[in-house]
């Protein structure tokens, strides 16, 4: 169906892919893996003519994506062929915030179907079918801007699936999903594949690749063969467990292994002495309270996080993880209840630091050094002291001083993540909240970031928040599970498997 012959592709600044020979058969389930920056996304975009090869040839159902290469630079094929190619090959991209074209979920799905002239009654049928397939039928009339990242990702999947192309490319399109929604999405993908839709699944999550009939790896711009690593039965069992839905448990089933609370909120408010640790007492939080679009995010959370350890918080999409992160870091004040750190309210940049999802989006200086120094200058340190601090921070996160004068935008994604990590710990907070710190990283960078977190956790308390159960279990001693805004479990990690 899709044929790539000796394809070479380069961006103006660097070559990306070379010597790619690939044949994708009708109804095939192909997995593509590879490190960040290896050229996976470029390959995806080449398949439906968003990019055109600088050398070699790509054909989809016999139509070439580019005009025959003459002496001049290649251009895309004629609009009619291009439309036919795009109708055959759909792509779901990674960033859930930049693919919604409609305002509501329904409108977003309708957009693509109108483009290819599907009759109105058939549009209705497809909207119902694909929303149900992904388990988001209730979101049909919702405003996309108000959905969580994971929900948006499911909407993007539905919008492309509903166009029923012969082949769908999923470019890291499941990265924001929690284990349960991820498994549902993978089931839906398998179902499409059984109906003879070719699937190309691009991911660094090796577990997602188990349904693939063939997996290739892209390394340094070339295809290398790749076999699914032999995970022990235990690891696979663990992965399955991680996908066990927790949201069906009602709070009445909750059994809490945490120490009984010795403090009431009234006491916290009065007590002037320092209690080491984070104390979250009767915290509820609602966005836009008192309006028609009020969203309750957290309901009556009581949690105590002891000083000096990594504390893990697990939760699915829309469970209130990021809200809790902002409250602990002092960026928001809870609607009711109180959050204190060592007996005083958290203050961002002072006693609490927070690393948001995709923190590299927030760089703004010309060099890594300047970006790191920006927050420190505000504290009134001398330039020498700032320099020393930056060096020691870079040591702590395992980056060498060679990158100081580089632009943060020219680093690899793993390095960027570590630099932003450094930016936060440079201001020496006692408590650090990490919201999905490994999101979007390949296996190698992910391990690197986890090692660094374990390393710094000797000096400060880390609250590690993620939907990746394995990461949380690897790194933390005590964990809590958030489910639909309610604390469903707190305890040691070995108690977690019993609870589940």
């Amino acid at each position: 169906m899709i044929e790539l012959n000796d394809v070479y592709f380069a961006y103006p600044e660097k070559p990306v892919l070379s010597g790619i020979d690939l044949h994708i058969r009708r109804g095939e389930y192909l997995g593509i893996t590879g490190d960040n920056g290896s050229g996976k996304t470029a390959l995806a975009k080449l398949l439906n003519g968003l990019l055109i090869p600088c050398g070699g040839k790509i054909t989809v159902n016999g139509r070439s994506t580019a005009t025959p290469i003459s002496t001049s630079a290649p251009t895309t094929c004629d609009p009619e062929s291009l439309l036919a190619i795009r109708r055959s090959v759909g792509i779901v991209f990674q960033n859930p915030d930049a693919q919604a074209i409609g305002e509501t979920v329904e409108e977003d799905i309708v957009f693509g179907l109108e483009n290819i002239g599907i009759p109105k009654s058939e549009i209705d049928r497809r909207i119902n079918r694909y929303l149900d397939l992904l388990g988001i039928g209730d979101l049909r009339y919702k405003n996309i801007a108000l959905l969580s990242g994971g929900q948006k990702q499911l909407v993007n999947l539905a919008a492309v699936m509903a166009m029923e192309p012969e082949c769908i490319v999923f470019d890291e399109a499941l990265s924001m999903l929690d284990p349960t929604s991820r498994r549902n999405a993978l089931d839906a993908i398998s179902e499409l594949n059984r109906d003879h839709t070719a699937v190309i699944l691009i991911t660094h999550n090796h577990y997602d690749l188990c349904n693939c009939s063939r997996v290739i790896r892209i390394a340094e711009g070339r295809i290398t063969s790749w076999k699914l690593p032999e995970y022990g039965d235990e690891a696979i069992e663990n992965h399955k467990l991680a996908a066990t839905p927790t949201h069906r448990r009602t709070p009445s089933h909750t059994h809490t292994h945490a120490r009984p609370h010795t403090l009431t909120s009234a006491k916290v408010a009065r007590s002037p002495q320092k209690i080491p640790g984070i104390e979250i007492v009767h915290v509820s939080h609602t966005y836009n309270p008192g309006t028609d679009w009020a969203v309750p995010a957290l309901k009556n959370i009581d949690l105590r996080i002891e000083k000096g350890r990594v504390f893990g918080i697990i939760g699915g999409i829309g469970s209130g993880k990021s809200t809790l992160a902002s409250l602990i870091a002092g960026l928001d004040t809870p609607t009711t209840g109180s959050v204190t750190i060592d007996g005083i309210p958290p203050e961002p940049g002072k006693n609490a630091g927070i690393l948001f999802q995709h923190p590299e989006d927030f760089f703004f200086e010309k060099t890594v050094r300047e970006d790191m120094a920006f927050g420190l200058r505000k504290t009134g340190l001398s330039e020498n002291a700032i320099d020393r601090k930056i060096r020691s921070t870079m040591d702590a996160v395992g980056l060498d001083s060679g990158i100081f004068e580089k632009s943060p935008f020219h680093l690899s994604s793993g390095e960027r993540r570590l630099v932003s990590f450094g930016c936060v710990i440079a201001s020496a907070p006692d408590y650090l909240v990490l919201d999905e710190p490994t999101a979007g990283l390949d296996q190698k960078s992910r391990r690197g970031v986890l090692e660094v977190i374990s390393g710094v956790a000797c000096d400060l308390t880390v609250v590690y928040i993620s939907h990746r159960v394995r990461d949380v279990l690897d790194i933390s001693e005590r964990i809590a599970v958030l489910d639909d805004g309610v604390l469903a479990f707190t305890g040691m990690k070995d108690q977690y498997s019993d609870w589940r």
Partner: protein
């Protein structure tokens, strides 16, 4: 925010075609502009009537006035002190017109979703041909993207605050604007990829939300024009 104004409902106003509603709202604007004190009072009653028909709480309508409350007071004071020289009734007319204009628009926004508004806009731009269709599509996309832009701005301010940077002064402005522009440009790139991947082309027809104007739409518009003529002549 505008996107939060619409409430789903099944009242007469909700069911009315968005093109008719848009046209009537513009017509109401003309009536408001031509009305004197007595007629303005009458129009106030019309607002209450429409709110009742559409099942819209008055408090929720009035919320639309909040952002421009100071502006309204300023208009009133300027007229009171400079133009009408102490005549309170005369000074109250211009702000009253503004208030009614906003209330009629709020009724439209409360009972019409953005998709319906976009459809109406595309309909009225149709005489401009392809250019009109492009305009309607671009306005639609821009409206969809504004909430995202505001959320991005908040996210960046919070992230910089978490690093201890209070975004003040030139440096603070850079700390906001550089990431915001980078994000926006990247999103625009990604959006265009998503548009193309979903087979967007300029000749695509938008028909799912379209429907034929019903007899009651014509009747309403003709009746409205009749009232307008009468209104002006008496």
């Amino acid at each position: 925010m505008m996107f939060a104004t619409y409430r789903k409902g099944d009242s007469y106003l909700h069911r009315l075609d968005s093109r008719t509603k848009l046209l009537l709202t513009v017509g109401m604007g003309i009536i408001v502009y031509l009305a004197g004190p007595m007629k303005l009072g009458l129009l106030g009653a019309v607002v209450l009537l429409l709110a009742a028909v559409g099942g819209i709480p008055i408090a929720s309508l009035l919320r639309g006035l909040r952002p421009i409350a100071i502006f309204l007071v300023l208009i009133f004071l300027t007229h009171l002190l400079v133009v009408s020289k102490g005549n309170v009734v005369a000074a109250a007319i211009p702000p009253a017109r503004f208030i009614l204009l906003i209330l009629f628009t709020m009724i439209l926004l409360h009972t019409t979703s953005q998709s319906e508004l976009k459809t109406a806009l595309a309909f009225f731009l149709r005489p401009l041909g392809r250019f009109g269709a492009d305009c309607a599509f671009m306005i639609g996309l821009a409206v969809t993207f504004i909430p995202g832009l505001l959320l991005d701005r908040d996210a960046i301010l919070r992230a910089q605050a978490a690093r201890g940077c209070k975004p003040t002064g030139i440096a603070g402005f850079t700390a906001l604007i550089v990431p915001l522009l980078r994000r926006s440009f990247r999103k625009a790139d990604e959006l265009s990829d998503a548009l193309e991947s979903r087979c967007y082309h300029r000749d695509a027809k938008r028909y799912y939300y379209g429907r034929a104007l019903a007899g009651r739409d014509y009747a309403l518009v003709i009746g409205f024009v009749a009232v307008l003529v009468l209104w002006v002549s008496i």
